[in-house]
């Protein structure tokens, strides 16, 4: 359906599990009928007599499916489906010129239905944009939820976060590779893998091991999770040595490679080749929004 390109297909098992639908009955009118419609159940002919016409139930079914979809996205399976869509750039690319067409992620500004339409989140400039298409901009934001984009980036840490371009000391770097990477990693990795849920998690304990792991297509050196625990200034010299991940076919990795190589750019106002001064009334006032610290230790850890 036009405008519904952002949606992932929710598995039937997920919908059939009543636990996953807890609380939705109070949000959606004609909940039961809508659910039957989604699962393609025949409605009881006796009931059909006193039911409102089909379009109203269809509307409810749309809404119900959207809200189930928002919950489904937060599951492992949902994230994996969306990762595939992300790699294929189904959500479009960032309109900001200096983001150089970074793939976007759908995000809602509210978790309650009919509050706001869907927005697109750019992991590079950490800002949200309105979709360009008319049909897309009419989809409810609650069908994707506020948490999905953040959880997605926390799950697939090879997508550079806001501080991804910075070299981060890899003392306790944990990385969750994307599905495609997982295969190549399980073949190559010699590290003991601890079964964390179902995700193969490899922990690099020292900088030297981080160097070896990063040569095995692991994005440990720029993993944003590492920033949480390590902000010591002493590590800033050693992290320079950690190599960037080697080449891979994965689309998500290529964005990482691109990001770690290139310098962060901010648009600069120029009038006839001269920078517009801060002192001018029309001078730059919003540079802070796009600025990034040059080294991580510039940022206050708290």
């Amino acid at each position: 359906m036009k405008g519904h390109e952002y949606f992932a297909e929710v598995t039937e098992d997920f919908i059939e599990d009543d636990f996953n639908l807890t609380g939705l009955s109070s949000l959606v009118p004609y909940y039961k009928e809508a659910l039957d419609m989604i699962l393609d159940f025949e409605t009881d002919p006796d009931d059909a007599a006193h039911l409102p016409n089909i379009p109203i139930i269809e509307n409810s079914a749309d809404q119900l499916y959207g809200l189930i979809h928002a919950r489904f996205l937060l599951t492992r399976q949902g994230l994996a489906v969306m990762a595939e869509k992300y790699d294929l750039a189904h959500f479009g690319s960032c309109p900001r010129y200096l983001c150089h067409s970074t793939p976007l992620l759908p995000i809602g500004t509210s978790d309650l239905p009919s509050r706001d339409t869907v927005k697109l989140y750019c992991p590079n400039c950490t800002d949200i944009y309105s979709p360009a298409g008319k049909e897309e901009s009419e989809v409810d934001g609650a069908y994707f939820g506020t948490s999905f984009a953040g959880l997605f980036l926390k799950t697939y840490t090879d997508i550079p976060g806001p501080l991804g371009g910075l070299r981060i000391p890899a003392s306790t770097a944990v990385s969750h590779p994307t599905p495609k990477q997982k295969q190549s990693q399980s073949q190559q990795s010699s590290h003991p893998q601890s079964g964390n849920g179902t995700d193969p998690t490899s922990t690099a304990t020292s900088t030297s091991t981080a160097t070896t792991t990063s040569s095995q297509q692991q994005p440990t050196s720029t993993s944003p999770t590492a920033s949480a625990s390590s902000t010591t200034s002493s590590a800033s010299t050693t992290d320079r040595t950690t190599a960037t991940p080697s080449s891979s076919e994965d689309a998500a990795v290529s964005t990482l490679l691109h990001d770690s190589d290139s310098k962060w750019e901010v648009f600069q106002m120029h009038l006839f080749g001269f920078k517009v001064s801060e002192r001018a009334r029309s001078g730059p006032r919003m540079r802070w929004l796009r600025e990034r610290p040059r080294v991580l230790s510039d940022i206050n850890p708290f």
Binding site: L163, S227, M269, P284, M286
Partner: protein, 230 residues
Amino acid sequence: MDDFSSDSDCTKYWIDWFLGAQGNEFFCEIDDEFLNDRFNMTGLNSEVQYYQYAMDLIMDTFERECDDPTREQIERSARHLYGLIHARYILTQRGLQKMLDKYKKGDFGVCPRVHCQRQPVLPIGLSDVPHSAPVKMFCMKCEDVYNPPSVRFASIDGAYFGTSFPFLLFQAYPHLIPNKTSPERFVPAIFGFKIHEHARLARWQESKRLELNKRLEQYEEEERRRKRAQ
């Protein structure tokens, strides 16, 4: 872009036809007065092939008979020439006024950034040299450059608008500068909890903003002191 043969429509003026063509919505009409002044065209004859013929075509005085390939070449030159003159024209007072009217009407579209709340944007070039980059959109609220939403603008050269135009416009009409004193920003959260590195970056950027505000206050203070001294 679609049909470019203006031959079929001889009754129309070339400029009118050009402005009506799809993808040319960003252009404004250049005054005859400006076009007639040869001083404004300085240097353009080396940039454009068949400069004289192209000029004649724009002025609707082109009456020479020529074969189709040449004619097409002249057409292309005329479009290129019009764009380059346009870049100069919109920096004049009347050009700014015309672009301002278009800006107020929202002819250039709005900023895609959510927190800019549909702030109108202005066309900008990334280079004043032709054939280097297509036109981009500049939003004064977030002071950033965006790709135009539609692919039909991808074929329009950024040099037809120039790098200076938006800033000159806001220098000439400072009352149009949007209010930036209480900016909103977006910090992603999972289940309502802000993500650590995003929140940290936001705090760092906020500190940069406060630094800037402090500097601006300082400038004002200096200005006041200077006025008192006079």
